[in-house]
């Protein structure tokens, strides 16, 4: 290499360094006196703003005889308030050029509006109204009770493999509330009463259990004033929140079961318990997931779909949660392939990842994939608002949106092997077969 070229290369590297810094997501965060955590990110590239509120309550805070309650309640949050008549919430948002939605997971419930940026005050008014004085009546409850049950039919009961998560969590947990999923069961959805909803609301839907995260075409100082205007007078909650502390004992013997579903092709699901999100091993498990199932050269994809042609589809998902969660490997058999065959092919891949240290080249590939994923995550205002809230609620550090990549980069090849050996042990797993109903004797 000539000297000149070397200099240019060095310049180029420097530029990349500077550029990478430019892509840093800057944000402001603070608490209101009532405990509401506020995160603000400014980005003028599109004249829109995402306003979101994350409440730290999900299905794991439910009582076992009221499963599905947190998600049902999420539907009621659109009913109205002292100043917003029933049915108006959606109309106000969409009629002012916005979009809105919400979702409930095991650990938290997330609400958002994406509005034209001149409607920031509107978004704040809407979210503060339902945080301060939500109004629900029996008509609303009964209507949403039916809507929620339709949602369950559409997404789970009437879908091939739709019950997968429900079955996986039911079989993997015996005492922890992760043993049921956010959608819950019809019988308890039927029982939930108006009074219980109001109790739930007063307990969990309080500023000291919420994070207001805003991203978009805003002016930080004006936004701060508006946030104070609409949220400062919402009283802090005082009721005791149910935060489960129960520790799920480890699985010591493999658990096996069969689910008969309205499907054509058998599927095999293997699940392993994994550590809570944010722990060191959690990053190793995430990288193992990438190794196993991201891209066509990933091990599951290459072995099961391409080479052995045992699977029509395969994937691995780390269900990392606030408390220890699950690593799920899923495969749908190609026509004519027996589930036993698919299982043994999955096992050969899992065995390899437990016994082989990956090559330097493959390790570099993994790091490159993680880096790309990390960069691409920050592509929309809504995505940024949600990630900032997530990092704050789960890890207590919103800046992980910029720095979490460092935690991945600390993971070594040896860490990967150790994590695979520790968590993907055959005697601690659950194996479910999904078979067509016609196969039921």
């Amino acid at each position: 290499m000539s000297k000149k070229l070397f200099v240019i290369a060095a310049l180029f590297l420097m530029q990349i360094g500077i550029k990478a810094q430019e892509k840093k997501i800057n944000f402001t965060e603070y608490n209101l006196p009532n405990g509401l955590h506020v995160i603000l990110h400014q980005d003028h590239s599109t004249p829109i703003v995402a306003v979101s509120v994350m409440y730290h309550v999900g299905s794991k805070n439910e009582q076992p005889n009221r499963t599905g309650f947190a998600h049902f309640f999420e539907h009621l949050m659109f009913e109205g308030s002292d100043n917003i008549a029933r049915g108006q919430y959606f109309k106000i948002v969409q009629g002012n050029g916005g979009t809105l939605n919400a979702n409930t997971t095991f650990d938290r419930t997330f609400y958002y509006e994406v509005l034209p940026s001149n409607e920031l005050a509107l978004g704040l008014w809407l979210e503060s109204e339902r945080m301060l004085h939500l109004k629900i009546d029996s008509i609303g409850v009964e209507t949403q009770r039916k809507v929620v049950k339709e949602e369950k039919k559409q997404r789970i009961d009437n879908q091939p493999y739709g019950s997968l998560l429900e079955e996986v969590f039911k079989h993997s947990y015996k005492v922890h509330p992760y043993r049921w999923t956010p959608i819950g069961s019809d019988q308890y959805i039927d029982k939930a009463s108006l009074k219980e909803f109001m109790d739930f609301y007063k307990t969990y839907y309080v500023p000291n259990n919420a994070t207001l995260s805003i991203s978009g075409d805003i002016n930080i100082d004006e936004a701060k004033k508006l946030v104070a205007k609409y949220f400062a007078d919402i009283p802090r909650g005082t009721r005791k929140m149910n935060r489960p502390t129960v520790v799920e004992p480890p699985i010591t013997h493999e658990i096996r079961d069969t689910v008969y579903d309205n499907i054509q092709l058998p599927a095999v699901v293997e699940t392993y318990r994994i550590p809570a999100q944010g722990t060191k091993d959690y990053y190793a498990i995430n990288m193992l997931t990438t190794l196993l199932s991201q891209g066509k050269s990933s091990w599951l994809q290459k072995t099961l779909v391409d080479k052995k042609q045992a699977a029509l589809y395969t994937g691995a998902f780390p269900f990392a949660l606030e408390d220890p969660g699950l690593f799920i490997v899923f495969g749908i058999a190609n026509a004519g392939v027996k589930p036993q065959q698919l299982e043994s092919d999955i096992d050969s891949v899992i065995a390899k990842v437990r016994t082989t240290e990956i090559s330097d080249k493959e390790f570099q590939k993994l790091r490159n994939q993680i880096e790309t994923n990390f960069v691409s995550k920050a592509s929309t205002n809504l995505g940024i608002a949600e990630q900032l809230a997530n990092y704050y609620v789960y890890f207590g550090d919103a800046n992980l949106i910029n720095t979490e990549i460092d935690r991945y980069m600390k993971v070594t090849k040896e860490d990967l092997l150790k994590a695979a050996q520790k968590y993907f042990a055959p005697n601690s797993r659950v194996i479910l077969y999904y078979l067509p109903k016609s196969a039921k004797k």
Binding site: I16, P33, S45, T46, G87, F90, K91, I92, Q94, G95, G97, G98, P116, N118, A121, W125, L132, E142, T143, Q144, R145, V147, E150, K153, Q154, D157, N158, Q159, P160, A228, K229, Y230, A232, D233, I263, Q264, L265, Q294, G295, K296, S297, D306, Q309, L312, Y313, I332, A333, N334, A335, Q364, N368, Q369, E371, T372, V375, S376, S379, P436, S438, A439
Partner: protein
């Protein structure tokens, strides 16, 4: 007073003033409307005709390459699925790279790459785009189609077709496309196991050569890149892609239904129905009523707060969500309103769909509603700009649909100009509740009957999961029964294999009635293949004989040797119990379904004879007895469908024989009663002798 307390006081006072400003009863007023800026895409064309659009956006250090093959819709007919499979095959190997190498190289740089019938998409960090562009260029310019990869893709495609047979939304989409566009339209063609199996490497190569050409394609390069960099990459990696003469195609499509029709696909275990109200629409991109049509659909069902969702979800709680789309298209557009609703309210949901559609035609929308929906659509437009590839999409749409150059720059202005009257006009033209298909994929026994009222002809058309019309009374086969089991059951039921194998000859005497005339029929068969048939009409007689080789028909003093199809027919008849030794005889049995014969469930077994003829026999699912034999035979008078029904089985020396035989040929029915059956009476060979 100490300073600290004083400060607290100030803070409290300030907060108090802030609180006092909030009048919560009033919705906040918006600030001044922000300007919605639409960036420009830069464009250039390569020598091979590839049009390239570049959108610079430096928000993230990544770049995407998106190639769109814009060939016209192609009829694939018996190769349905060819374009999809060619699209999947593209990218599995090139002349310089194996599949493993492509997969590894793409994953190594953390990029994503996907190929399909419609194009190739890739995304990578800025620092890796050279590698990505090189691979993408190689994929489109120098693909290598290998049989091993084709076979893998076909296997997966067939598996996923099987999986789709249980997916209500997949079923509904299949049938909807058949209804709206027709099975012989590129928009209504359905891939099946059979059409996928027909696809060969040669067909894929031909498809690629014909249609996946740069001169009918667009390349969008979007992200952290400037025009010069983009030009360099495009020149370097996409200029070798050879242009070609893309064949023109004639687009075929159905006309909209003249009256409202109800179509149903039965899913016996369904707990919820998928409902579509749908029909084809002639609406091209850029139509002068286009904006009014978009607004009309948004009011009806294009948003959460649209009439359909507010009615079906928020008012009646029939569904988790109801919405509608009105798609424009150069060739043929489509209207589709849809929801999923539980069985008990499926018909009520259809009623509300039709009610809301009718209302769009009978009443003008209010100014208020119009303004609300315009604001919603402006917001939607602004939000779409968050994704930089939207600008590239706009530029490509202007090209491919031949829209005015300033179509998107004027989008909001034109949207704002839509009036209540325009919406009314567009509704009258495009929303047609009385000339629509009501398609329901659901549980027929629970919802079917209640859907009849929506059909203007009073009947429901039933379809299978691939859009073929079916008989709703036909039942589904149990998965675990095989054709051999059905045949065994039949042989057992009529006396058992051993007894049947011992039959050397059999004489059956029947009496009956044809068009008021009394007739007598005698049939004699001798193992292995001798046959005698005598029809006695009193005044005249007819005899047919077959001695194993030759056949003759005689009557009224004349005699004629039979040849061709007639000889074949007698050969078939000569076999007493063909199912006993069907393998020897070269008969291919196939279990084709469950059917009904006079309310009895029966297995339908199709028998294909070595000469190519076939019959379908119906075996009673309970008793194993043969209930019917249906066949179609060519005669000098044309092709005749014959059905023979068997009932009143009686025992003759341990062999069961039907007491009643009813034969229907066309409009003619012959009722026969079996009077006597003689088994092993020692019939001599001479009896069958053909002179």
């Amino acid at each position: 007073m100490n300073i600290k307390k004083f400060l607290t006081l100030i803070i409290l006072l300030t907060s108090a003033t802030l609180f006092a400003q909030v009048d919560r009863s009033k919705m906040p007023e918006p600030g001044p409307a922000p300007e919605i800026k639409i960036a420009d895409a830069e464009t250039f064309t390569l020598d091979n005709g590839l049009k390239v659009f570049v959108v610079e956006n430096h928000k993230l250090p990544e770049v995407s390459f998106s190639i769109m093959f814009n060939y016209p819709p192609v009829s694939e007919k018996e190769y349905a699925g060819l374009s999809n499979i060619t699209g999947s095959l593209l990218g599995t190997a090139t002349k310089t790279m194996t599949k493993d190498e492509i997969d590894e190289n793409i994953d190594f740089i953390g990029a994503t790459l996907s190929t399909s019938a419609k194009g190739v998409y890739g995304n990578a960090l800025k620092k890796n785009i050279d590698v990505l562009a090189k691979i993408m260029g190689d994929i489109v310019a120098n693909p290598k189609f290998e049989k091993t990869e084709l076979d893998k893709i076909k296997k997966r495609t067939i598996s996923s077709l099987k999986a789709g047979e249980k997916e209500p939304s997949t079923i509904a989409d299949n049938v909807k496309n058949v209804l709206d566009f027709g099975k012989d339209s590129p928009y209504g063609e359905i891939e099946t196991e059979k059409t996928v199996k027909n696809i060969t490497i040669d067909k894929c190569v031909e498809f690629y050569d014909n249609y996946m050409r740069p001169n009918v394609s667009y390349l969008a390069i979007v992200g952290d890149i400037n025009l010069d960099e983009a030009k360099n990459l495009a020149d370097k990696y996409f200029a070798n892609w050879k242009k070609g003469n893309v064949p023109a195609v004639k687009f075929k499509s159905k006309r909209p239904p003249l009256i409202r029709k109800v179509a149903m696909v039965d899913r016996p275990s369904a707990v919820q129905s998928v409902i579509h109200i749908t029909y084809p629409v002639k609406l091209k991109p850029g139509d002068k009523l286009g904006f009014a049509a978009k607004v009309a659909n948004a009011i009806l069902g294009g948003a959460f707060v649209s009439r359909l969702n507010m009615d079906l979800r928020e008012k009646h709680a029939y569904t988790y969500g109801a919405h509608s789309t009105l798609d424009d298209d150069i060739y043929m557009g489509e209207f589709d309103a849809t929801c999923e609703a539980r069985n008990a309210v499926t018909d009520s949901a259809v009623t509300q769909f039709l009610y809301e559609m009718k209302k769009m035609r009978s009443e003008k929308v209010t100014e208020d509603e119009l303004n609300t929906v315009k604001k919603f659509m402006i917001g939607q437009f602004a939000r779409s700009l968050e994704n930089p590839s939207t600008i590239a999409r706009f530029a490509i749409n202007i090209e491919r649909y031949n829209l005015p150059k300033d179509y998107y720059k004027n989008y909001l202005k034109n949207l704002d100009a839509v009036t209540v009257d325009d919406v009314y006009k567009a509704s009258k033209k495009y929303i047609k509740p009385d000339k629509a298909y009501v398609l329901v994929v659901g549980n027929n026994s629970e919802v079917g009957k209640k859907l009849k009222k929506f059909s203007l002809s009073g009947k429901i058309d039933y379809y299978d999961t691939y859009g073929n019309k079916v008989d709703p009374d036909a039942e589904k086969l149990p998965a675990d029964i095989t054709v051999d089991q059905v045949i065994d059951n039949y042989l057992k039921a009529i006396g058992g294999k051993d007894k049947i194998a011992n039959i050397k000859d059999e004489t059956v005497a029947m009496e009956g009635n044809i068009q008021g005339m009394n007739i007598k029929i005698t049939v004699v068969r001798k193992f292995p293949n001798k046959y005698y048939f005598n029809l006695d009409l009193g005044a005249m007689q007819q005899t047919q004989k077959f001695d194993g080789k030759n056949a003759v028909v005689s009557g009224m003093g004349q005699s004629k040797k039979l040849e061709g199809d007639q000889l074949e027919a007698l050969k078939e008849e000569s076999e007493m119990y063909p199912l006993l030794r069907y393998k020897e005889l070269g008969i291919k049995p196939e279990l084709i379904g469950l059917g009904k014969v006079n309310d009895k469930s029966a297995y339908k077994v199709k028998l294909t004879f070595p000469n190519g003829n076939s019959s379908v026999i119906y075996i009673d699912a309970d008793t194993g007895l043969k209930l019917r034999e249906a066949s179609s035979r060519k005669t000098p008078q044309g092709e005749f469908a014959t059905t023979v029904d068997f009932s009143d089985y009686k025992d003759w020396n341990g062999i069961k024989y039907p007491g009643k035989i009813v034969q229907t040929v066309g409009p003619q029915t012959i009722d026969m009663t079996v009077k006597e059956v003689k088994i092993n009476s020692g019939v001599k060979d001479d009896f069958f002798k053909v002179d």
